[in-house]
Symmetry: C2
Subunit: 590 residues, 2 copies
């Protein structure tokens, strides 16, 4: 089937005079996660991972993906005519390098300019150097051959109450206009759906688990335009937006957007489609100001987050209590426990999950992005560990939590690795630091105990989290790898929410991850400056059974005991007497 | 006197048609520490600090300096007509900002282009923007009015044996030429004296405590020129250099250096004088490749460093033994103990100190850069703490060590701060980290315990150290402040030597600093990558009397005890029986 699709694509390429055609993962909004309509990489290659780039010539068909997906991709493209290009492996060219090697003077590079960011297109152009290669960005060749393509589904948009957001769309628009002025920009083009959702206090259901609306925005000194499907916006929402100074335009009209002659236009090259961004004559390239505002949660949002995390903690404890007291755990599958956890969350007030729950028994947990399916899942066992990474969407916040649960006897090595993971998590969450400190600077606190053992978790220690929005949100995040540019050194600010989720992953054996969300808050001001610290938002006991207490430092023990005391105090009222008694027991100081 | 000098300078400015004249600290080689000839800032303003910039107009006389020197500068310029400009204080313009505000179209900015780097001049030009301001860089007006200026003293240069350097000048030149080729540069201009000393295995005595030679270098594909005072180079040295392919040119001829037309010239804008660098048409701006090579000590240098640190450790222990057993310590001054320490070092083989010893009793130690003088010094006391920061120049290395010694009973707060400082030092020195880690990333390990108390030490945690060269050497160093650019994120490499010297400074009361030098070495390779760690070079006991043992973690105790066991084993053979017995006692495990 893939072979036929490739043949059809190549025929279209010939007809269109295109020598090389590129299909990256992504949608019109440069999103990380996309809806079914946008799974073009999967359609043409069969590869189902979330990040991949397909390049097709008349002779070659190539798929680039990263280390998380090497095994999966190899398997999925076997026999299709595709070759796997392993990203960041020595000797493997990048997409841009391949294009520069392959394309000759006078040839044509084709892609759908609506799903390629200006930044990506500029990277290709940069590598092509002085080569005379024409970009043909107007043809969605995949769309032309994809006869049974799912529709781009538009669901109803709704307004998130100001009692949760703490700031009106009008006030946010005023701040954005100030930021535009600071950059001497007269207009601002915004394609990122979560930024638009934040800016207009608008939510939807257009991407699985992300409560966003397919929409674009345009802001200048007088106008604020929202490009959105008319039918997705009720009269009530339309009126409310109008009251905030926002006018509605048809979703598709965005592709014809022309900015006023002579007006510098602020745009985030990594977050704006080539089709629109490349037309802008006088672009002021910068990270979306909305991204930098959205990541700092205001006091209303912070208070709401404490409440959503309390609800999420109650759900987690009810689920843990159920799991601990289940008469026949070996009869439960990974899917059963996921489902019951979803039930607990929805009962606690979640309107959706913030991502597909990862419930991974034993060796499955060694795969960081494991997902049980009805075709392939494991049953629980009364030994080893169960890793559960999950989260909910509440009107008062988005949650993300991981706990690793001892299901029975553990080996010394498992206990050692569990204790190191716990130490890592606590060392980062206990940090106190001067204003001006970057996220990058603190990562070693978590990474250290894992590196000491000659291990690593091959991903960031944590990521930013949205407010009733995407569970992955930039720009904050804890990372150790040297950033590509200075924008990667994000300064921590009070109000930022970042996960703290170190882990140990032993291939084919087990996986451990302990994850809390951290809210950056003020600590104190001394003659040396203003200090910040973290308040842990996540409320849920950490399994103490695998801990080797003598490996914890006195400081780590204090942090752990204080955390557990808080968990008990904050959650007890939402629990039954039996659940509360159990919680008291498992949160005893050690 | 300062007023007369200012008047003379202003008269010269008028005569030369110069509206604003700038005098920064520095010499022809963009050095951090300068010899007497170059103390022009002091001559014109009376300010003796190591870093300052003077700007003079017909109406104003301004001195910029940083936080280390605010108090000292205020005092020294009082009544001179100078105004202090406090760097990095809110509302105070930078020099460049002041120039942009002050200079009008058609005016002339004067400076000695031989002591201003191209980078600095470009910064001024950048802030001036479109203003039509002419740079007059050919007049050393300070020199014109400084009638009793000390001479620029040139001492004899000598060759450091390859048994210490491990690499010939010819081999280093070949590596530099490779680096030039990688950057497509056909020539390379080098002004930094320590880089030249490293490149040619040449040493001298032209800057106090820095065994460098006043010299410039020029390298192209065929030639390697050394611009140096003919009389500083003996026939033997000249012949040896010639054998390595190095030709001698007169020192002053550097100012007339013309690079070949059409040849891209590699130069470090921050390390090359405006006079020469601004003439280069096709400059390839980069950090000096010699700087990046010099900071990675080769195996021969590493082995030599172990030996020089052993000798330095013997000197330190003999001195400590003497101090601990001195019958009447209160009769000793800070200068007495410095002098005796210098004696011990010279007996151990040092040919110079690597910087002026800081011996600071009690409150004096709160000043990070305190220096006792014959006019102002303190006597030792049998209470409080004595901080001694010192180092030696050996043919087999440069050392830098700080110990803080309990002279008698201490307060609980002093013990708490001492223990935190020790924890900081040990946490950094115990780090294990994947290749690719930057120095910046590890600083929090040392900074953390100090920040936890709401304190800070207002400087980097450590700096690179030269090999029989300058005690301050870039680019490596542990810092927490966000670097100005990506060059500031220096990746740690095996062979780099960096100090680890956290501290606590309580104004008017006491100061604590514990400093060891760390050599970055290979640790292990696992499936997760190649790990590095630190080997502590410095060998000297750390005073355990102030330590509160229960505040040390189990990991810190192990690191401390292992360190002390190594100190005893490595030093015992160089000591008398009494000294060795004492050392064994003070290095007991806790």
């Amino acid at each position: 089937m893939i072979k036929e699709r490739l043949a059809a694509l190549r025929a279209k390429m010939q007809e269109a005079g295109i020598d090389v055609y590129v299909v990256p993962s992504g949608d019109f909004h440069c999103s990380e996660y996309v809806s079914a309509y946008f799974r073009a990489v999967c359609f043409i290659s069969g590869f189902t991972g979330s990040a991949g780039t397909v390049v097709v010539t008349q002779d070659e068909a190539l798929l680039w993906t990263d280390g998380r997906y090497f095994l999966q991709a190899e398997h999925q493209i076997e026999g299709t005519g595709f070759t796997l290009m392993r990203m960041a492996v020595a000797g493997v060219p990048t997409v841009a390098e391949y294009l520069a090697q392959t394309l000759a003077d006078g040839q044509v590079l084709g892609f759908d300019g609506r799903i390629v960011s200006l930044k990506l297109a500029e990277e290709w152009r940069g590598k092509l150097g002085e080569k005379q290669v024409r970009f043909e960005a107007g043809r969605d060749l995949i769309g032309e051959i994809w006869t049974d393509r799912p529709a781009q589904e538009f669901h109803g948009a709704w307004l998130l109450d100001e009692k949760y957001t703490g700031e009106s769309a009008a006030a946010k628009l005023a701040r954005v206009r100030e930021a535009m002025q600071e950059k001497n920009a007269g207009a601002f083009i915004l394609s990122a759906m979560d930024d638009i959702a934040w800016l207009l206090n608008l939510r939807g259901a257009d991407v699985p688990n992300n409560p966003v609306v397919f929409a674009f925005a345009y802001v200048d000194k007088v106008q604020a335009l929202l490009f959105v499907k008319e039918e997705a916006i009720s009269a009530e929402v339309k009126a409310a937006l109008a009251a905030q100074g926002v006018e509605i335009r048809p979703y598709e009209a965005f592709w014809g957007l022309e900015t006023p002659e002579g007006t510098p236009v602020l745009l985030d090259k990594a977050k704006t489609a080539y089709t629109v961004a490349a037309r802008v004559r006088d672009a002021v390239a910068a990270v979306n100001p909305t991204t930098l505002m959205k990541c700092v949660k205001n006091p209303t949002e912070q208070e709401a987050l404490r409440e959503s995390h309390r609800k999420d903690g109650v759900a987690m404890v009810k689920w843990l209590y159920w799991l601990e007291h289940h008469p026949d755990r070996e009869a439960l599958s990974e899917i059963d426990v996921s489902d019951y956890l979803e039930t607990c969350r929805r009962e606690a007030g979640a309107f959706d999950l913030s991502f597909n729950t990862i419930a991974a028994m034993g060796p499955n947990a060694a795969m960081m992005h494991y997902s049980a399916t009805p075709e392939a899942f494991a049953m629980l066992e009364n030994k080893g560990m169960l890793l559960v990474d999950s989260g909910g969407q509440y009107p008062d916040g988005t949650t993300d939590i991981t706990r690793t649960i001892a299901m029975g006897p553990l080996t010394e090595e498992e206990r050692l690795h569990y204790t190191a993971t716990l130490r890592s998590m606590l060392r980062l969450s206990s940090a106190k630091f001067l204003e001006g400190t970057t996220c990058y600077f603190l990562d070693i606190l978590a990474r250290g105990p894992i590196w000491d053992m000659g291990l690593d978790y091959r991903c960031g220690t944590g990521h930013g989290v949205g407010f009733c929005l995407n569970v992955h949100e930039g720009p904050n995040g804890f990372r150790w790898t040297k950033p590509a540019d200075m924008d990667g050194l994000v300064t921590l600010k009070p109000g930022m929410v970042t996960t703290d989720e170190p882990g140990v992953y032993m291939d084919g054996r087990y996986g451990i991850r302990i994850e809390n969300e951290l809210l950056c808050v003020d600590a104190e001001t001394t003659e040396y400056g203003h200090y910040l610290r973290f308040e842990t938002l996540t409320l849920c006991p950490i399994d103490l059974r695998p801990v080797i207490p003598e490996l914890l430092t006195v400081y780590e023990k204090i942090a752990l005991n204080e955390y557990h005391a808080m968990v008990y105090e904050r959650l007890r009222d939402g629990l039954t007497a039996e659940e509360a008694a159990w919680l008291r027991e498992v949160t005893q100081a050690i």
